[in-house]
Amino acid sequence: MNSLLNNKLTGKKGDTVALLILAAVLIVIFPLIFDIFRLNLVGKYLSLAFAAIGLVMCWGYGGILSLGQGVFWGLGGYAMAAFLKLEAAHNIAAEAGTDQIKALSTVGLPDFMDWNQITELPYIWYPFKSFPLTLLMMIGLPGIVAFIIGNAMFRRRVSGVYFAIITQALCWIMEILFVTRQGWTGGINGITDLRTCLGWDIRSQSAQYTLYFLTVVLILAVIIIGKIVLRTKLGQLLIATRDMEDRVRFSGYDVASIKIFIFTFAAIVSAIGGAMFVFNVGFMSPKLVTIEPSIYMVIFCALGGRNSMIGAVYGTLLVSFGRTFFSEEFPALWMILMGAVFILVTLAFPRGVAGIVEDYGPALCRKLKLPFFNDNKVNSAE
């Protein structure tokens, strides 16, 4: 009963207020209280939040638990890193001029290719010569992979735990692929030493500020687009499919296509985060597309509340800061402490941070006479 009423409380007005608060925290409060080092850290965490937002869409709404969101996130990241690496290689070549020894590398080729005796740019790297094409690849590559996997799985009605296990395996495949094809991907080191984007030094302080704000703007944009999508009939259908799949199927819907859509959409959202990560951090590594980060993404989403995209952002920040804090303060114990927090939160607040806000927010607002949560009007009133 309680949970039902709360569904209503997150109506349009409550949503907008929550979004404005998130925007204020990210745009005003964080830049004021953090130095550039910490702010850059927040930018890095926010890049991960994209994957958590994607999980809210496909897991929280559609009921599709993906334990491989890091794969799509990573594909977006690798695409962007490939572009930046080519640019770095060209810069090195330009600085070295005719002095081949100074260049330490085949001219215009990323250093790791040279170490792997590759003397010509592989064809799959060609699109990353152009920035627009890179943007297209950054969205298209994970989108197509998700579409193919979605088609293969959902058309065969693979769902639930089985699907989760397959996505998990996907992480492993991706890691092995990217580690072993080192001539193409930089292997275990990943793609490192990224410096400029279209001539703009991404490592300078001012660039780090700009990139932080760009990440914030993109994350807010993704949340707004997500809200628009989830507020259509498709959003209702996702909830319906999650709760009663057969009823949807026997109401004349092709359930598989609904699932494929949201899974692909979530993958693309994640990929944008991966690309922003590369900008904020300056490298991409296969360590980030293994199983562990993907599990963390699910934890972000669960802790934030898997039905709330805004909650997913807070969830990501809380877990990531918690990780940093615990590992700095209690280096020997931090894993155990983090685990204990997860267990406690899941037991006490199964709907995560968003659930806490929904449970106690209205009462608090009433007490403080704030008008935020009075939006109890139901949409069918006409």
């Binding site: 039902l4 569904n7 209702q236 909830i239 319906a240 949807v248 109401s251 004349g252 819907y253």
Partner: protein, 247 residues
């Protein structure tokens, strides 16, 4: 072919689960505009029969024709689109959505991904939902989430979710199970009203209810048809009394 106007023609339908024939060479004809009830003891294959018609289970052999079209191997959603609606035994409604939203999701427009994204709740949709809600006695409960309805109301809601798509044939699996006497008589009124424009195939255990509504009754036993005809006729059949109705 047939003298009467049949909306559903099932011939020689068999489904075998690892050698066990849940439905065995069943022939069943449903007349246009009639209420056809299937009765029989537990395990007679009644629910399996409905599963076969709506495509949830695929037959081993046999043929299902709906309004002259072979629907035996169509995908589930296409069977719905040609006009067959299926209600499940346990009320299958969307618990977190309101009655209004439950009906809206079932509205037969915007069934593709793109269609659902661009679906607009216009006047036509709203008035149709109000109309259906009135028919299924839920017009005052439009804003109530599905999970708060009583068991009987959930049954009605699911019937309403089918009606909104305007099917030509309704398959109802125990529609009055768990209903109060009052709700039961309302349901029989509802069914009599809706069968004017469509046919209804019902599985039911409640004999009084069957007597009240059935035009034709088919008795299934161990996957095969034991008897068929009007209730007065079937009730007197000795084999039916022996295996099902009791002395």
């Amino acid at each position: 072919m047939s003298l009467k106007n049949y909306i559903l023609e099932i011939s020689d339908l068999t489904v075998s689960f690892d050698g066990f024939k849940a439905v065995n060479k069943v022939a069943l004809y449903v007349e246009q505009g009639s209420i056809h009830v299937v009765i029989g003891p537990n395990g007679a294959g009644k629910t399996t029969l409905l599963d076969l018609i709506c495509g949830k289970t695929r037959p081993t052999s046999g043929k299902i024709e709906f309004m002259g079209h072979d629907i035996t191997h169509l995908p589930e959603q296409k069977i719905v689109k040609v006009g067959v609606g299926r209600k499940f035994q346990t009320p299958s409604i969307y618990p977190t959505l309101t009655v209004f939203e439950n009906l809206e999701v079932s509205y037969p427009r915007g069934r593709s991904v793109f269609g659902a994204l661009t679906f607009k709740r216009d006047k036509k949709v709203i008035s149709r939902i109000h109309e259906i809600a009135e028919t299924i006695f839920l017009k005052d409960l439009l804003d109530v989430p599905g999970e708060l309805l009583s068991h009987g109301q959930k049954q009605w809601l699911e019937i309403g979710m089918l009606l909104i798509a305007d099917p030509k044939l309704l398959l109802l699996d125990e529609p009055v199970a768990g209903m109060s006497v009052e709700e039961r008589s309302q349901t029989s009124k509802l069914l009599n009203k809706i069968c004017k424009e469509r046919s209804v195939l019902i599985i039911e255990h409640d004999m009084n209810f069957v007597r009240e509504i059935a035009h034709t009754v088919t008795v299934l036993h161990q996957g095969s048809v034991l008897a068929e005809g009007p209730m007065e006729f079937v009730e007197k059949n000795e084999k039916v009394i022996e295996v099902y109705l009791g002395a």
